[in-house]
Symmetry: C2
Amino acid sequence: MEKNVLGTNVIAQIGILVHDIEKTAQVYADFFGVEKPAIELTGTLEEAQTNYNGDSTEARAKLAFFDMGSTQLELIEPDEHPSTWREALDANGEGVHHIAFVIEGMKEKIKVLEANGMPLQQTGEYPGGRYAYIDTVKDLKVLTELLEND
Amino acid sequence: MEKNVLGTNVIAQIGILVHDIEKTAQVYADFFGVEKPAIELTGTLEEAQTNYNGDSTEARAKLAFFDMGSTQLELIEPDEHPSTWREALDANGEGVHHIAFVIEGMKEKIKVLEANGMPLQQTGEYPGGRYAYIDTVKDLKVLTELLEND
């Protein structure tokens, strides 16, 4: 395997899939003694250009972020359209979905990962950047998300 | 729920269960461009006083630690004796097992968590401290480990 594939080893985020983000975000807020964050919604297909396994998808998700050291915890409640989130929630139930890393050079990184046998699963845009989910489960035992901020 | 139950919201560790720690630790080392860490072994029953679901257990695990920002990634390969690690690996396969927090006042914290409907699952000693796994899955959608260092 190519070494230092991502150019970073700082875990920026842990993503957790949930059925009811309002409820679980309140539990997290109480448990950790912080304010319940505003629930965000990922962009429309037109805004986010969401692509899942090679096809455009209308999928959107509600998100809530908690800062927990240098790592952010992200709660994710997906809608019913096809996505990495919906697929994993249906297959495995609630729980950890991915760990995320902030990288530079998204296209190049995706190419290198694919060449190392780690397929691209989903991409999308968010205000100020873009993400890519990479199927690193065989190698790292967990899904990886790349985040590139402009 | 009691608020700010742990007294911290810094994720100290993400624990990942694996079948073959030598192999997966090498993959992580290559992928993130760091040295493969020495594989550690948890203490014997006499040393670690490991207790799982109320009973002493001979269970031990091989561990490998990677520093990834303020969060440490821990690979865990359990032996065949009963433990939270073995149970989860058999039930769910390889993948994320827990997130961990460094706390103070272990006994008190466990009492408060149990009073809030989050049962104690496993405890043990390590050189310089002790851990407790708490079943927070219903509330937080992930298992929690408490770490208390002397």
